[in-house]
Amino acid sequence: MPESIVVLGATSGIARALTSRLAARGHRLLLAGRDVAELQKTAVDLQIRFQVAVHVEAFRADDYEGHAAFVDRCSEVLGDGPDGVVLCYGELPDQEAAFNDATLLRKSIDVNLTSAMVVLNLFAARLAARRRGFIAAISSVAGDRGRRSNFIYGAAKAGLTAYLSGLRSRLSVDGVHVLTIKPGQVDTKMTLGLVKRGSPLVASPERVARDIEKAIRRRRNIVYTPLFWRYVMAIIRLVPEPIFKRLKF
């Protein structure tokens, strides 16, 4: 059945691929993000391609006070919904810069973790009241273990993963499903210049979006995308700390 779905951070590369997948399945979409002009263009594109209704709303992750009003507007625009929420935004800070600059560090934690918790709590209450629907959020394999090269981002994502795990448990009694998405390296704007394009280890946003859409449909709890990251991370988690602390990656 087509549902109404709110996509937070809808200008991100993964979000654009995912909204195409969702629209292709006939879902009504509400695209939320900072750059409303860009979102409007994406909305028109989705309407032309898939002939579905697509709405646009301004949303700023760092505007905590505005979150409640934003959630209200989503319900208003979508009539009764939403039936689902997908959180796609995130920020990859420069590890060294954020390590030495508390402002950068706080901003990264705020965007990746605090704001996500605040806005998803609000949506969670609404979905729980209707006793159905889903919340899906993009965490990261980086949250599975803190590595020397990106543990500030990793800490935020580890927090997000823990939060989603608890939220899933809490909402399970209300019939609301929670999906934790853990992408590996994806060829997006966030990683341009940091990962090797064309390498078999780097996934396209389209590939990741396909996995996410499927996981939402099958009400999976945790999805690694592409799947091989599940095994890679299983091994990485098993490395004993005395050895792990010497690894430079």
Binding site: T11, G13, R16, D35, A37, E38, K41, T42, V44, D45, I48, R49, K189, L192, G193, R197
Partner: protein, 451 residues
């Protein structure tokens, strides 16, 4: 602004150059990139299907526009589509063909962007009748180094329109284009195959059928020599009507059959394609195509090679050179024979050789085709290939012909200037639209287009 330093090449995998690549995902970002006044040049890149160095920029920046690929307006009454330059013909096909619309003119791959199709003023199997891609372009939007947005059409900024169509991205950054789509009642062509014994018969067959056929193209066995020189399989075709289709297809006339995905592995030994294997392939191809009529879907008819992903890898690590020459009508027979003679004398067989008759000249100042014939060939790149190609260049020039910029990677600035007599006019127009000379590619530098 984030740039990734990457090894880039065109579809021919040759040359390979390290370039700083940016891939904007919003209009604001694109604008910032184009306007960035750090003194470095930039060139747009789409899906990288130009064969040579048209979308490379060794000394400067490359702007990958493939993530700016949105449709911005479509009128289902008139079939007028506006899209961002990074949208591909494949996407247009996927979205609009089921609704009974498609572009009138398509090149031999659907993995080209609309921006690239404008910049190269590409052509297809219908050139003899419908001209090049530019004819269905109503307007486009050009972003200049100063951040100005020029809406270009035949009536507005007409000079910039003429310079940009076929202008290889050297006048500015094409951000959006408005294209007239054509009504289609099926996704199929009715194709007639006809084998000819030599070049004379091939050209005569074109002459006899061109007026009546919507599409025509000849595959030439360029290994055949002597009396059989230029023997071909000529395909003439037109869009199939629903009544042309067999019952099994007529139920869903606009649905394309699903193609099995096949791909070429990353590294193919260079020895796979040699004179002998190409000879065998050509002989088999000629033998297989008996005369007759067949219903063929658009994918198979327009894009036979798209079915094999990464087909460009079959030439091995060093890549290959595409060589597409145009000859004006008066000299085309002599020119083609002379070119084929040179090739078979050098025992440098081209795996694929395609001949096409051409109609009215493109509107772009540097548009490639005019009335006459065009012959497309490809050669495995080997380090000593230069003199051989120069002998071909001289032959083309001697017959009043020219080479296609979207395929070129080797010709000299002198050859280019001699082949494109309107170059001074182009330079003048570029100077007006892009006085900063921000838009430069490796090809433009090699051919001294912008100087």
């Amino acid at each position: 602004m984030v740039y990734a330093s990457e090894l880039l090449s065109g579809w021919g995998n040759c040359p390979v150059e390290r370039c700083d690549v940016a891939r904007p995902e919003s209009a604001v970002e694109l604008r910032r990139l184009v306007m960035s006044d750090d003194g470095r040049s930039c060139i747009s890149r789409g899906l990288g299907r130009a064969y040579g160095d048209s979308s490379l920029n060794l000394a400067g920046r490359v702007i990958d526009q493939t993530r700016l690929n949105r449709f911005t307006a479509f009128d289902p009454e008139t079939g007028i589509l506006t899209c961002e330059a990074g949208a591909s013909l494949a996407e247009i096909m996927e979205v609009f063909l089921p609704r009974g619309w498609f572009v009138r003119t398509t090149p031999g791959t659907k993995f080209v962007t609309v921006g690239g199709a404008v910049a190269s003023d590409v052509h297809g199997k219908n050139h003899h009748r419908d001209g090049s891609f530019g004819e269905s372009v109503r307007s486009f939007r050009l972003l200049t180094a100063r951040g100005e947005t020029l809406d270009c059409s035949r009536t507005e900024n007409a000079d910039a329109f003429r310079a940009t169509l076929g202008g290889m991205g050297l006048t500015g950054c094409i951000t959006e284009a408005t294209v007239q789509l054509e009504r289609k009642s099926t996704a199929y062509c009715s194709v007639n195959y006809r084998r000819t014994a030599d070049i004379e018969e091939t050209l005569r067959y074109f002459e006899d059928t061109d007026a009546a056929s919507q599409y025509s193209v000849a595959w030439i066995d360029c290994v055949a020599q002597g009396k059989s020189l230029g023997r071909s399989v000529v395909m003439t075709a037109h869009d199939a009507a629903p009544s042309d289709l067999p019952a099994a297809l007529a139920a869903n006339p606009l649905r394309l059959p699903i193609r099995r995905k096949r791909s070429v592995p990353r590294f193919v030994p260079s020895a796979v394609l040699n004179y002998q294997t190409v000879r065998i392939f050509n002989a088999l191809y000629y033998a297989r195509h008996v005369d007759g009529r067949k219903i063929v879907d658009y994918d198979s008819f327009f894009y036979p090679l798209d079915g094999l992903q990464h087909w460009n890898r079959i030439y091995g690590r060093r890549g290959f050179v595409q060589y597409q020459a145009f000859f004006p009508r008066e000299t085309s027979r002599r020119g083609i024979v002379a070119l084929l003679d040179l090739i078979s004398a050098a025992k440098n067989a081209s795996f694929l050789a395609v001949l096409k008759s051409c109609g009215r000249a493109g509107e772009g100042v540097l548009s490639f085709l005019s009335p006459g014939h065009t012959l497309a060939l490809d050669f495995r790149y080997v380090p000593g290939i230069g003199p051989f190609l120069q002998s071909l260049d001289a032959c083309v020039l001697r017959h009043g012909g020219r080479l296609y910029l979207a395929k070129d990677s080797q010709m000299s600035a002198e050859t280019f200037a001699a082949m494109y007599p309107r170059l001074p006019e182009f330079r003048e127009l570029k100077g007006r639209v892009d006085p900063e000379r921000r838009f430069v590619s490796s090809q433009a530098r090699r051919l001294r287009i912008a100087e």
